[in-house]
Symmetry: C2
């Protein structure tokens, strides 16, 4: 492996990094520069090496004997040459992950032990930094009730030593490594407790970007909820003991199916995998005191093999590669004119236009040829570069229903492109119109109006307002495609997105919904809920649908300027209650949409319905609504999200606020929920004696559209 | 009452503002400008008047009839001349508190009613603003489970109309106004539920400075915890119905003792008191359909009378007047040289120097005259302008124990002043020394060393470090006054302090402890706990106390520069667990100190021990440790505060972090507290089946002293 290949930029490539943690017995042999070299030539990318040795420890033990007064903390001197396992060596530094002493107890209730441990950690980090190392692995806390002390020491060490990254070595859950391997007894433990400790540590350390997790993969895997939870955390290292491998019929070490799936999932995050107990496991496997290097290498080879047989990425994963957890401002196609490349990206969707074509086919078929044999009038409003014009023409051919197509576009550059396509491809069946659909006055009324104005949250690119503006030119019996769309949402945890937003420290960013290809996210609630719906043609303009076009025009032509025309019917408000089974920390909520294009032809970005309704749809990433301060929720709690879609005659915006509750045993009498009005939908209204206790609420985000809005 | 007297600046004076809310029946008569005038000449300062009238309401009722589709919201036109109760009039605007329509329901589950109500409120605020009013009273929410909707509408109205202040009219607690007056039945209601609703409203409205509370004083008062809770909130108006007055033997209306105490307490905040139901109550009291103006005025006269018989302020209240809830940076007398005025303020304390003199008297008496008849050597270290020199000389006279006093001072200006006093007052009994006590080398060793270096949190002005530095010149049998001091703390709620800090929006401010004369504060926990102790002479230097002065000097002379000399023995760490009975929101914690000057002579700023140990001590306000985000805690919860006093050889600083838990019925199994190490002090360890559920934790504040520290 060449020097260049450990360039951090290369981690975006398909390379996968595997390391070795030498057995306790042969550390000293493994850590001179030849040892590093041999491990690297053996195929490992990194070696995890204890920074200090037994000599250092014995020196510490001597000074930290209890004395009469426990408040006197002996000063710990930095390690000297004979105390450390490696020397500064720029050639190998990048191949070494330092390991802090396993015997330190930052969270010891004995103040002497805690203070000595804190000094040892600082010295070790400092030496690792001096040697040019990037990562030091620190043992996790040893008890639950002293996490603040542990985190404070970690934070002080991070502050004292620049640049170095600290990896906190943690079990996935309380069970697992404690259980004797092969045991079937699953003790009634708290599966989220280790995550909980980690969450406290990183909260106390204020989401330091230099703090991440090294996760020990246990022999017995925890429930799926725990696996998903950790997937949302910054995992730098997966530790895997060679002892948890099974032997296949040929005697080679392999992982169980469950472990394979775990690795397939976690490998997406490109952590380092560090193998432990390799010599010991090889000795057992080969029944040999001195197994060959080749026998020891079998574990490494297997991990590399697993990486080569990773399941192919889904269409969405392929499409979103490089955009994972990256915050994008939603498009404003109404206010801004898109560039050709943006259109081109959207046109690549393998599913979206197939669905549109199917919807158009069904609509044209249902409609049939008109009595006077005139072609049906189809309007593509917001035609862009014309993909829906193509869909309409193909659907017309297939349905044997002749059509005439208006392609209406307000972007002058796209308009020019459409004119060119008309000349080259479409000719007389298509008329290209340069107009804002809200002001367009065609000579003929429209039978089928088709648009692709949906955003990640459905209505967030102003589809309702645009189509309301165009509705006056639709025949009273006309069809609009899409016929309706609904917005959906669910509370979620994403330390990664939160720390990105936090690091900007700008009020506008925590008040803006972003489009994100979500990866390091854990959905906190048991189900996604619908927020609201829009239907087209709009029923709120329906009272006038039989009156003359003049009425419509008088009402809508001046939409943008005349304050007497209200857009209030496109306001929405909903408060939804989400049940949370396992505790977690809410950093925001995720928005999706579903749309009925026509009849049974639908689009969906909801992860639980996308495969049924529009598998492999890739055009939309979810939308992320951030909150300004994370809200912690315990087991068996409820999150209520209130969200508003608000409009004036110049802009549209969202506001949102969150309330949290915990459900505890107890009578409802005198509870926070003793409302004269019963709640509309009680998530667990089984009549049992459950009290709902308020835990917190957020401020109202983006009041008045102060920080983010879509211009009409 | 003259125009000038409603100048807001004058509210700091002893004037007390009383208003009248005219009875529903005679509003129309009361609200023309003559009506305002007559109320003002009748002795009221303000009149609370509904902004719109029945005519406006009937217009709204007409348009808000339910129609087929509830999503269609009728636009509400602003009120016209015949819809309002008063006209713009700059002369009287300042005497009018507008009242929003009592029939609006911002939190209605019917979206039409909610939306119409929101429009009505905006129109009313807008008209009130146009008329020059400063305050509008808005009815509180009508249900508990739609508070987010209520708050959003309020927030939108505040954003739409500039400057105007909104007063949310609320009951103190669920019981009270609902109960028939005189009833003894106390329904098992939730005493904090109304406060809880208010807390949600102002949290959602992001602690708007234009939002405050108008509190309805009920006939039956709620528990003291509720009274204290509201005292910490921004109460602009106290509403008192004349119907809750009793008649005294002469037939005059008076309030019960309990109500008097309530008013005495709340009058400190100088709210407006607005009397309601005056005509009706007068009719009943006088059994007259047409009572005289004088009879109606009896309630006003009584309130004004109450204000004149307010209990005298305590010494601390008198001393702190004008400083209530005002954040001051703690003094740094070591790093900065104080000005004479600052010394002068401290010297005014009636109690502090009496206690010092008593302590010196006892110490000198215990010590007695030395065998060789030499006077005892007393050192006043940090003598300032010399008050302790006076104490020592007086104590010496009284104890008949001759002394020689060193007055050691590092502030050159105070030194000059001391020289003058020596010449004029003290002469040969006193030697004035210009030195930092940490470097001072007197020819004689000290018998009694006395200092006044304590800060609001005890050690926060570096008393431990200064006295450690001076200890080397103390005889091995010498006495130090104070002998010891302890720091104490308790979690607290203060929306006022939080919003002051929040409005600065500076990271350093939420990471800095402030000295504050606390007023609008509610202590959340059941008891104040001790953090840590310092003792003098320091036992950690004690091992060397019998060795030569040279050893001491080698160890301490270079304290500031020589990194090999450690101040680690003055580091402290404690985690304390506080039980919280009634829910609340934590904005920070309050720190106090106690000190043993000598023997049984003590100083205390703890509110629960100050009267016993040092009544009327005024020199120290408490210290306030802020937290960056408020933490909500439900009933029966626990707050754990971890606090560190940390030092390096250049500075001393505090770090702090908070964790919160709720206690719920249930087995401990699988709880967040199933630690192998049992917690050191379980607040409710009665062995019953109580589960401790983690609710949240704060970040670590001021890590590494990054934002605030005391320089050595």
């Amino acid at each position: 492996m060449s020097e260049a290949s450990v360039d951090p930029d290369k981690r975006m490539s398909s390379l996968y990094y595997v390391g070795l943690q030498p057995d306790q017995s042969n550390i000293e042999a493994a850590i001179d520069s030849d040892g590093v070299l041999s491990a690297v030539t053996d195929g490992y990318d990194v070696l995890s090496v204890p920074i200090t040795n037994a000599h250092f420890r014995s020196g510490i033990s001597r000074i930290s004997q209890p004395v009469s007064d426990p408040a006197i903390v002996p000063p710990v001197a930095p390690p000297i040459y004979s105390d450390v396992n490696f020397a500064p060596n720029t050639t190998y530094a990048q191949h070494i992950f330092g390991m802090a002493a396993q015997w330190i107890e930052l969270d010891s209730p004995d103040p002497r032990i805690a203070a000595v441990s804190a000094q040892v950690l600082k010295h070790e980090l400092s030496f690792a930094y001096f040697c040019g190392l990037s990562y030091v692995i620190v043992p996790g806390p040893t008890r639950r009730n002293n996490v603040a002390l542990y985190a404070e020491s970690l934070n002080a060490a991070l502050a004292a030593v620049p640049h170095i990254n600290v990896i906190v070595h943690l079990a996935m859950a309380e069970t697992g490594i404690e259980e004797p391997s092969g045991s079937d007894v699953q003790a009634p433990v708290d599966a989220m407790s280790i995550w909980d400790i980690w969450n406290s540590i990183r909260t106390i350390c204020d989401y330091s970007s230099r703090l991440s997790v090294g996760l020990q993969v246990p022999a017995k895997l925890p429930p799926q909820t725990v696996v998903s939870r950790w997937f949302a955390e910054p995992i730098t290292v997966l530790f895997i003991s060679a002892k948890i491998f099974l032997s296949n019929p040929k005697g080679y070490p392999v992982l169980s199916k469950a472990h394979q799936y775990l690795l397939f999932k976690y490998m997406k995050m490109k952590p380092y995998t560090i193998l432990q107990d390799v010599r010991e496991a090889t000795q057992i496997r080969t029944s040999s005191k001195l197994p060959s290097k080749q026998d020891e290498k079998a574990y490494l080879i297997y991990i590399r093999h697993l990486h080569t047989i990773l399941p192919a990425p889904t269409a969405v994963e392929k499409f979103g590669r490089g955009y994972q957890d990256y915050l994008q401002n939603p498009l404003q196609p109404l206010a801004d004119n898109l560039e050709s490349g943006t259109y081109e990206v959207f046109e690549k969707d393998p599913v979206k236009y197939a669905q549109y074509e199917k919807a158009l086919f069904q609509a044209l078929s249902d409609r049939g040829t008109s009595p006077n044999d005139q072609p049906l009038v189809v309007a593509v409003v917001g035609a862009g570069r014309g993909p829906l014009v193509g869909c309409a023409l193909r659907a017309s051919d297939k349905a044997k229903v002749p059509i005439f197509v208006y392609a209406v576009e307000k972007n002058p550059n796209a308009y020019t492109y459409l004119l060119q396509r008309k000349e080259l491809e479409w000719q007389n069946n298509v008329e290209v119109v340069f107009a804002d659909m809200r002001n367009w006055n065609p000579v003929r009324k429209i039978d089928v109006m088709v648009s692709e104005l949906l955003g990640s949250f459905g209505d967030n690119e102003l589809s309702p307002e645009c189509l309301d503006g165009a509705q006056r030119v639709l025949k009273s019996t006309g069809i609009m495609i899409p016929q309706s769309y609904t917005s959906h949402f669910i509370p979620a945890m994403s330390p990664k997105i939160f720390s990105t937003i936090k690091s900007q420290n700008r009020e506008d960013i925590v008040n803006t919904p972003y489009v994100v290809m979500l990866q390091a996210v854990d959905l906190l609630a048991m189900e996604i809920k619908q927020a609201w719906e829009f239907r087209h043609p709009s029923p709120y303009l329906g009272a006038n649908s039989k009156s003359s076009a003049v009425t419509h025009e008088r009402r809508y032509d001046g939409l943008r300027m005349d304050d007497s025309v209200s857009n209030d019917h496109n306001n929405r408000h909903v408060k939804a209650r989400f049940s949370v089974e396992n505790r977690g920390i809410m950093h925001g909520f995720v928005g999706y949409f579903e749309s009925v294009l026509y009849g049974d032809v639908e689009l969906s970005t909801r992860p639980d319905t996308i495969n049924k309704k529009s598998k492999d749809l890739v055009s939309w990433f979810p939308i992320w609504f951030p909150i300004s301060s994370p809200l912690y929720v315990p087991d068996d709690s409820e999150i209520e999200i209130s969200i508003w879609r608000k409009t004036d005659n110049r802009k549209v915006w969202y506001e949102w606020s969150i309330e949290t509750f915990v459900l505890v045993p107890g009578p409802r009498l005198g509870s926070n929920d003793g409302d004269p009005m019963p709640p509309e939908s009680s998530a667990r209204s089984n009549g049992s004696s459950t009290k709902r206790v308020r835990l917190g609420c957020s401020k109202l985000h983006n009041p008045g559209g102060k920080y983010s809005s879509m211009s009409l």
